[in-house]
Amino acid sequence: MTDAATNTPLLSVEDLSVTFPVRGERAPVVDRVSFAMAPGEILALVGESGCGKSMTALAILRLIAKPGRIEPHSRVVFDERDILRLKVTQMRALRGAGIAMIFQEPMASLNPVQTVGDQVIEALRLHERVSPAAARDRAAEIFERVGIPDPRGRLKAYPHQLSGGLKQRVMIAMMLVVRPRLLIADEPTTALDVTVQAQILALLRDLREELGMAVLLITHDFGVVNELADRVAVMYGGRIAEEGTRAEVLGAPRHPYTQGLLRSIPSLAHRGETLEEIAGTVPSVGLWPAGCRFATRCPKVFEPCNAEVPPAVRLSDSHRAACHEIAHEVRR
């Protein structure tokens, strides 16, 4: 995939901020995040728990629950429409049909008292006028497409009768039956066995090829990123630390946080050695340093880090990193 910013992007997020009240003040959980996605592109959003990646995804769908709030200066443009300024009914029509989302827990993602077929049909008939019989056919078709054996029989199954992998396939089927142009996958494989994980990832990749749908993949698993992503954005403390193509971020990481993350992945090449880790823990929301969010844990920290927000440094057409150290180096 080429650089998303040069073509007309499918989704462009500019200065997205989501705040929550913490001790009387509104603390940003997502802080001026910007990125763009081209049609058919897979962008992985990577980061530790609590770095704001799920909040970013929910904000794109405008599903931030109160007391959370998307700040008014944010802009999310999908298909040349400013999502944050759509009417509630227009937004509802866009959810599912334009942007769909699959969740982490396939066990809890399906209503236990409805057959899975009914749930898929509900999703379809919400956005398209189709007869019940035609809807049933479409549901069976999509079940077959996502690799559910005996699709017609499985339409009548209740969620508790399916395995975790099958449930996640049903979930994917439910989200794909109306053919959205962007699929947000929030840790789609975290709760699954490794073998099932591989199947689901292969399925997502095939579906992308087939339907030309863009995927915003949210994960903390670099294995999944390497398997699937075209581009990678690494988040820390509600901001994007580094963004670039898969080869750039995984092969030649520049931001100290990305470097630390990649070094702390256990690998067979370093058997028997002590696994490296990033010192310290993520400070909780509201206790973040004023300058670079990573300043408290960064090995290369120097004066401006604590005081100033680091600028995003362009390293290539597609690669940028927000770090004072790199800015300093580039300037020299």
Partner: protein, 338 residues
């Protein structure tokens, strides 16, 4: 007025048949019904007999079979027609299966035929007891018809929408819960009047808080579940989410609470009758009237025994069924091994 109750009976029978057919077509409920029948066959049969008697007593029509002492325009139910209370009576008390009157020993008009004896007015006690079935079922059923929608409306909207709505509902619930139930009940009945509808309405108004709390808590939990989130991510509107994803997942709570409430309501009517504000023809009224008879010598025991036993058996059966239902429907209670 007889046609109203006839239509209601027809609707009840049709509704029951529909629920039966629907539940049979749905595996979840079919299995639940099977498990219930296996565990509580006897209680279900007895409850069925009660319901049948109640329904027979609710079907009535005008027109005579030539019985004396009946006005031509009076609609009489199947039970009335079987017992013919206007002629099937004595002058005063008689013991069960007695040949002679209890006081004085004069010969009875129907010797040996009053299975449960007769009361002070000479009315057959079995007849009066059977007439009480309809009243009891009416109190339980009608009150739940008021109570459950009210509880669901407040509980679900408080739990689902949260914020100010939740605060408002919680305020109303806390206020209601802080007033002694019986006092509020008596005050309401005094204000509304003493009819069947009024009493049921008053019971409904005072009783919804418990179920409302339960459904609010459960809705709070369901709202955060990922399938509700997923439905929202798919663009489903709030009313549809409530109808399709919240209410069906509250069904087990509602059914269990209904079964448990039912007996509580029948019993509270008894207490109301004891205080003199119950319904005509109820078992509570019979027990209230039999109070003085217990202090007589020799004791007139059959009145109170008949009414109390009928009440006891109904309450016991419904409680047994409710208990089994909870085991079957609530996944958190471990299934008892038969």
């Amino acid at each position: 007025m007889s046609w109203v109750s006839n239509i209601i009976v027809a609707l009840l029978v049709a509704g029951g048949a529909y629920v039966w057919i629907w539940a049979r077509s749905n595996r979840l409920w079919r299995e639940a019904m099977r498990a219930l029948v296996r565990r509580r066959r006897f209680a279900l049969i007895i409850l069925g007999v009660y319901v049948l008697i109640g329904l027979l007593d609710a079907v009535s029509w005008v027109g005579g079979d030539g019985v004396q002492g009946v006005a031509a325009s009076e609609a009489r139910s199947v039970i009335d027609r079987i017992f013919k209370p206007s002629i099937f009576r004595e002058k005063s008390y008689s013991e069960p299966f007695a040949q002679v009157e209890f006081v004085g020993g004069a010969a009875l008009t129907f010797p040996g035929q009053h299975v449960l004896g007769t009361d002070i007015l000479g009315d057959d006690v079995l007849y009066k007891t059977l007439k009480g079935v309809k009243v009891a079922l009416l109190i339980g059923g009608l009150t739940c018809l008021v109570l459950i929608p009210l509880a669901l409306l407040f509980g679900v909207s408080a739990g689902y929408f949260g914020g100010k709505i939740d605060d408002a509902v919680f305020f109303v619930m806390s206020t209601l819960a802080s007033i002694p139930n019986l006092l509020l009940l008596i005050a309401l009945i005094m204000a509304l009047g003493k009819g069947t509808l009024q009493v049921c309405f008053a019971l409904g108004i005072t009783g919804w808080v418990g179920l409302s709390r339960l459904t609010r808590a459960e809705t709070l939990k369901l709202r955060e579940l990922e399938y509700v989130q997923a439905a929202r991510a798919l663009g489903v509107s709030h009313p549809t989410i409530v109808m399709r994803h919240i209410l069906p997942n509250l069904a087990h709570l509602v059914i269990i609470t209904f079964a448990l409430l039912f007996t509580g309501l029948v019993l509270s009517e008894t207490i109301l009758a004891y205080l003199g504000i119950g319904l005509d023809g109820s078992w509570g009224r019979m027990i209230d009237q039999a109070r003085n008879e217990l202090s007589r010598d020799p004791v007139i025991w059959w009145n109170i025994v008949a009414a109390s036993s009928a009440l006891f058996i109904l309450v016991l059966c419904v409680n047994l069924i409710a208990d089994a239902l909870r085991d079957i429907l609530d996944p958190r209670t471990l299934r008892e091994r038969p």
